[in-house]
Amino acid sequence: MAVRGVRRGLESTVTSERDDDTRRLEALALYEIMDTPPEPEFDDIVLLASELCQTPVAMVSLLETERQWFKARIGFDLPETPISQSVCAHALKSTGLLIIPDLTADPRTSENRLVTEPPHIRFYAGAPLIAPDGVTIGTLCVIDSQVRPEGLSLTQKKSLLALARQVVVLLEMRRNSSRKDDLFRRQKRISSEVRAIAASSIAAQEAGGIGTFDIDVATGRMKISAEGCRIFRLPVQDEYPANIIYDFILAEDRHLPSADKTRAEGTALLEAEYRISTPSEGVRWIARRASFHHDSDGRPVRMVGTLQDITEQRAAQARMQAMIELGDVLRDMEDVQQAAFDAAELMARALGASRAGFGMVDPVAETVLMHRDWRAPGVDTLEGLHHFRDYGSFIEDLRRGETVLIGDVTTDPRTRDHCQTLLDIGIRVLVNVPIFDKGQFNLVVFVHYDEPHDWKQREIDFVRSVGDRLQAGIGRLLAEQDQDILNRELSHRLKNTLSIVQAIATQTLRAVPDRGPIESFEKRLQALSSAHDVLIHRNWTGAAISDLVTDTLDRIGMLERAQISGPAIFIGPKATQSVMLLLHELATNAVKYGGLSNGSGKVRVSWDVAGSVDQVQLTFTWKESGGPPVTEPTQRGFGSRLIRMGLLGTGNVDIRYEATGIEVVMRASLSHLQEAG
């Protein structure tokens, strides 16, 4: 009945759904966004979302009728998927977040091909993109390849919703500015004010650090804006030979800029990023975008474009990337030392450092045993035992749990008296992040530079943030390891206790001539113990119904006579124990009196879920056939009482004694079954 009610409910919403579809398609068309190339503003948002939520995948997903298309994506290969594979489609109806901690356990997604086949996605959280007129056009979503029972933290939820609003703001801005571009182009053709507008536009570009250039292909002369000159560290003048940049470009990037030949042929790269060496600021990254103007014969005559110093952006990207990778390292780590090494390497690469690694600390002896370290080419290792006091007094700060950042060992009061010792081993700049285990300072992660380094506040923030996250991550890992040991110890004790209960019962009832009850008792204890095994294997988070059914029938040697079917559904630890006992009773009864008591009978075990999102109900059916004729028992033993209590101990059980065999149908709320405690 419940199922039919739900279906009827769906039908009645079909009309309004179609309206929603139309309105959504109209809204998407107005944004002129579908199938446009990637844009950095949107890319940044998915990067942030993935970083904030610690997921490998984040996407801006826009939904048409037949497909979802991704305006921006990180960690996901496909540019679009059919709507049938869209988890986001389920998020459209809501104004809040949709969070599915385990996609395999949710009836809406358990059959989704992205779940059942590679990439095997497991966790989903999506925030709706709601246009100003109230239409939801898609989602900003994050996806993990691992189940996340804990979902998202409050901060993550808030941030994801805020970023989703940001996506809509960007879409609105984009729509407005593309209108302005149209106007601009038309004006340019008809108006004499072009110059003024262009000038103001150039001023705006220069404020943003963008230079412009215009190369005459025939002469190789380059007109270059003042900002363009500054980017190349050239004295400001209107014109330079285009090839002057070869004077400072790094040898390994020389193939990237345009040359006389590639300009004449029109084959020069239109977008290039290359490095130049500057006298005062070291190596800088330059981004150059260009286009060709052709004569009436189609030959390139001018190459015009923009220049930008992107060193800071690249560094910021590298740091962001490192943060994202650190998230992966911390999430996947199983070994503290490996995680410490990986984190140190990430930090060193993002910061352009010369050496990074970690050491095990003896806080009493004030020594650190350095393990293998990551090093830039030509830098020596520090492996081996070192005394903190040989290098200064910064151990005091480490003991207090503070990240130590020494910008220059020759001037910092903590190290200047020992600076020669540090300089001798290639340390000019030093970063130490202390890690504590059970309140004890026992591990230090370090980053070194052999040259002075001009620290930007953002880099310092980055180091502290990596340090904090590493501390928290390793702390969590150590706590999990403790918990794992504790779980195993508890399991051991419980199983020993069950064994002793079994022994006492065996001894106590030794004189009883009827062995039946004592055997039943013993087997129930084993069912309970099996439930425990299944649970401990999943770290006490719950169990798959199919595992419980298979385990029970296997234990009585009747697996091949059972037909088992149902979706992959997990239930919580509490329900696992009662369901296991229940299954044991059903199986025992079948073997004693029912479908499994002769050589030919069978049992069909199936389960399914139905109902609305917040009231999903599980229906579990045990149906025997081919056994001797059954009748309702006159006496109710423990077993049949247990069966009548149902999946959650609250009834809702239909038992039918059909001529062909017993049929038991039990129902319970899925969310109650999945409760942890």
Binding site: R488, S499, T506
Partner: protein, 129 residues
């Protein structure tokens, strides 16, 4: 002593440090038709094995105090008395984590009495052939 070998029941060495569990195991072994010999730890079991030649099966707990646990005992039995059958039991470890010696059988605690009885009897039968 006075009894003829012909009528002697096959002997099973039960090694278990927990007295109640040992008592239950001894009953089980005797009910299955064997002579049960008890040891409270692996060292005691080794001493018994060194002076008796009629033991067919060693039925041992894995988690025991002393210089040897049940796995080490099983390895020693396999090494020094290869014909003796081995049954291991534990509440601590799961079968997937145990390296059961060649020909050995593992039962998770609390164990199924009838299944264990059957295993004991089939081991003794195979041994008898």
């Amino acid at each position: 002593m006075g009894q003829s070998q012909m009528f002697a029941r096959p002997a099973v060495l039960v090694v278990e440090d927990e007295p109640l569990l040992r008592m239950m195991a001894v009953d089980l072994v005797e009910d299955a038709g064997f002579e049960a010999i008890e040891a409270a730890n692996a060292d005691e079991a080794i001493k018994i094995l060194e002076c008796r030649s009629d033991i067919r099966v060693v039925f041992t707990d894995i988690d025991m105090p002393g210089s040897m646990d049940g796995l080490l005992l099983a390895a020693a039995v396999r090494d020094r008395w290869p014909p003796i059958e081995i049954i291991l039991t534990s509440g601590h470890v799961h079968i997937s984590e145990v390296e059961v010696p060649l020909g050995g059988v593992f039962f998770s605690k609390p164990y199924d009495h009838s299944a264990l009885t059957q295993t004991l009897q089939s081991m003794a039968t195979i041994e008898g052939h």
